[in-house]
Amino acid sequence: MAKSFEEINAKIATGEAVVMTAEEFAALAADEGVAHAAKRVDVVTTGTFGPMCSSGAFFNFGHSDPPIKMGEITMNDVPASGGLAAVDTYLGATEPSRTRGIEYGGAHVIEDLIRGRAVRLRASGPGTDCYPRIEIDTHVTLDDLNQAYLFNPRNAYQNYAVAVNSGDRLINTYLGPLLPRLGNATYCSAGALSPLLNDPLYRTIGVGTRCFVAGAPGYVAWQGTQHNPDQARDDNGVPVAPAGTIAVIADLKSASHEFFSAATFTGYGVSAFVGIGIPIPVLDEDLAATLALTDADLTATVFDYGVARRSRPALGRVTYAQLRSGAIEIEGKQVPTGPISSLTTARRIADELKRWVVERRFTLVPPLEPLPQPDTGAPAPKPLEIRTEEAI
């Protein structure tokens, strides 16, 4: 019994579609079997809300009189790119402020804009015949901007590492403070609610997929940077370490501060919690089987961040259920765990997306182009070698 996107969309349009969150779907499948759940449910919604460094926004400020070709640009003292057209810019989430360092960065500027706050825009330019102004100092709000859209080159990582530290001093990482001698373990995935873990082979998620981005309706724009479909997978075909990623785009003017929150990791830098949710059509039983997986079925690999090299030693695999229990065992030692990805917000996103599909008739589209698939010769992420021009 297979269903098509068209059949599911027709049901969404008439309000007959049965929509469940991934957690609800897994519970139903456990009670009544995957086959029954696959037949009964049309769409499963997912959600994740964790720090996603590769995020940022494009802005167009409009032209001043006389106009300026903005070269060096800051927003609340956070540098933005001057490398686009006269009044276009891209502000990266991790860019630190010139005056407040990592306590305030690009992500904080974007959050302030979403919250309706005015942001101080300063820029200087070379002064040309067509753009004579050489300096500008003004304030802008989100409403003032002609365009403002999130374009996040890498979000919603399909699985992530569990981080521990075997060294003998505390280290500050993008996965939080890691206590010495395996003193704690942190992890960062929504597990059974995570979008790409629910469609591990990217059958329904690809370029053009409609999704939830920071509270706004958006799209999967492209494969994310470092997309790695050939990562090791378990018997269910689910990656056991960081694998697929997506780039997403959405109108910042429709975003909500509830689903975009600036973050500062002490001793590391600025990042942004971004809410991503993807509705997955229950096309057939194969897809239903992965949608029904729970935290007890999904595993992540423990890596030792005490070794500051590109390849960190792997110390085994644990399930998300074990991680959520508050402690895992590594090398015979009980290690307390803590997450970085908010499960309560991931649940809210999956619920919100369910409401969109049911009430706002948010329909689904098949991928315009698939993400690079496993075992099709997709190039693995390449390392950056340090070499001279002659060596090439």
């Binding site: 500062t264 229990s325 997450p339 970085i340 908010s342 499960l343 649940r347």
Partner: protein, 135 residues
């Protein structure tokens, strides 16, 4: 056996008097200094956990007051700004006594103030800067 948490304020002249020593020696109590801010010649504060028989604790408190200290039950020193908190849970990964934990069912953040030892690990770890320690 009882256990109380006291917020002590020292008048400037008293700042160096070894009150915890007397609590041990004269009242057979077990004091545990959770946090102290004491400088000679200035008013000081100490967050002190004391355990022992109830009567001994009361006598100990009376002794402290006789010594000119102001004694009050420990106030809410760690503050969680729920507006800023995104319930990520990272603070629970660094809280060794387990004062901060996520509820197993709802995944909500629960703070057990009695278990907190005021180490400030959560203050430094919180990516939303949602936890602050007053005093």
């Amino acid at each position: 056996m009882a256990r109380v948490r006291l917020d002590l304020t020292f008048p400037p002249r008293q700042a160096t008097k070894p009150v915890t020593y007397h609590l041990v020696k004269d009242f057979d109590l077990t004091p545990n200094i959770l946090r102290a801010q004491i400088q000679p010649g200035q008013q000081g504060r100490m967050l002190l956990e004391v355990s022992g028989p109830r009567e001994a604790i009361d006598e100990g408190i009376a002794f402290l007051e006789d010594e000119g200290l102001t004694v009050s039950p420990a106030a809410s020193d760690i503050e969680l700004d729920e507006e800023r908190c995104v319930v990520c849970g990272l603070c629970t990964a660094v809280c060794r006594p387990g004062a901060l934990a996520l509820d197993a069912e709802s995944a909500a953040l629960v703070f057990d103030k009695d278990a907190c030892v005021y180490c400030e690990a959560c203050v430094v770890a919180c990516p939303r800067r949602a936890v602050t320690l007053r005093f």
